[in-house]
Amino acid sequence: MIYKFGDDERGITICAGTGSTIVNFRNEGNNIPTKMPHSVDVLRDSLEDRFQIQMRPDEEKWIRSVLDEIRENPTIRFVYQTDYVAFMRNDNLFLSYYTSSANPESPLLFENSGSYNSDIKIPELKQQFVKQIEQHLPMVQQWLAGKEMCRDAISKISDTLNGE
């Protein structure tokens, strides 16, 4: 879903995808690098700190309403890599879980939660997200454990063949 506000001189485009939402802010015809905030406060701070741009009240109100709308019914994308799985909500929160080989110091189910470009500044959102996912954690744990076993099997083959 694409939301637009303003014009080419000072316009805002919000693209809500399946795993993330990005805000593109245009100021005096120049594009400000795309932001992926989970809250208007984060976006406002970032615009002020990095680009010395003050968000106008009407813009803030509009962005807030759009992000609220997205947050009300966020879509979630599941992604995986060799040593982790992650759930990414399109209000820009994610929960990721790593295998212990990726994080040797941590338990198997190592959780990393956050938001792009910032910490989660709305704790209730994180709680809601964790609650959404927690009943499926046994499956996540099975996946992580399976990946560890696969990794061990491959190491065993490789080490033995190479005489290490």
């Binding site: 939301y3 637009k4 509009w62 979630i76 994308r77 060799t82 696969c150 065993k156 033995t160 063949l161």
Partner: protein, 193 residues
């Protein structure tokens, strides 16, 4: 990653370099031409006309074979896995490889003795044709791999389970999302003036 190079320095005429790592062995000539090391070097040299191209004759070929023999007598392995297709490939640095694939499990469970592809690098820009590998070489490779079949089998079974879990987790994400709206309709807000 093991990297080793042999240089033919005894002969001032042709410059030849043999480079080997865990994945493959390459022969490089003075003009930068590269070839994957074949099992039958004289045949390759003849076919590619190395004498005319690089001035490489029998003594140089013998030198190459001698070095390759060293590599073949203690080949290095790279064990590669494929995240998407769930297969295992054992790549030897004398340029042959062996694949264990999911398909083998699902169709012919006992058929791990599949043929070793005589040359896994078809399509590689270094050389246009497959390398001839002798039956003995294949048998030796197969024998070397035999003890690992149970481990590979376990890996592939496990890998299948993991894939199913992965699908279930994707379904979880999809269900939690309700019916994801991925259209690109444009919503226009009120202009700020």
């Amino acid at each position: 990653m093991l990297e080793h190079e042999y240089h033919l320095s005894e002969y001032p005429r042709p410059y030849i370099k043999i480079q080997t790592n865990h994945i493959r062995t390459i022969i490089e000539f003075q003009d930068g031409s590269k070839y994957l090391a074949h099992f039958n070097m004289p045949e390759l040299a003849k076919k590619e006309n190395w004498l005319e191209k690089f001035g490489v004759a029998d003594p140089e070929i013998r030198w190459i074979e001698e070095k390759l023999e060293k590599i073949r007598s203690r080949p290095k392995f790279l064990v590669q896995t494929d995240e998407i297709q769930d297969g295992i490939t054992l790549i030897r640095n004398d340029n042959i490889f062996f694949c264990f694939s999911e398909m083998i499990i699902s169709t012919i469970p006992s058929a791990f003795n599949l043929e070793v592809d005589p040359m896994g690098y078809e399509g590689n820009p270094f050389i246009p044709n497959k390398s001839p590998v002798s039956g003995n070489q294949l048998d030796a490779f197969r024998q070397q791999i035999q003890p690992f079949i149970p481990v590979a089998y376990s890996y592939l079974c496990l890998s299948r389970q993991i894939r199913e879990i992965r699908r279930d987790l994707s379904t979880v994400a999809w269900k939690l999302s309700g019916s994801p709206d991925i259209d690109t309709r444009v919503r226009r807000g009120i202009r700020p003036h």
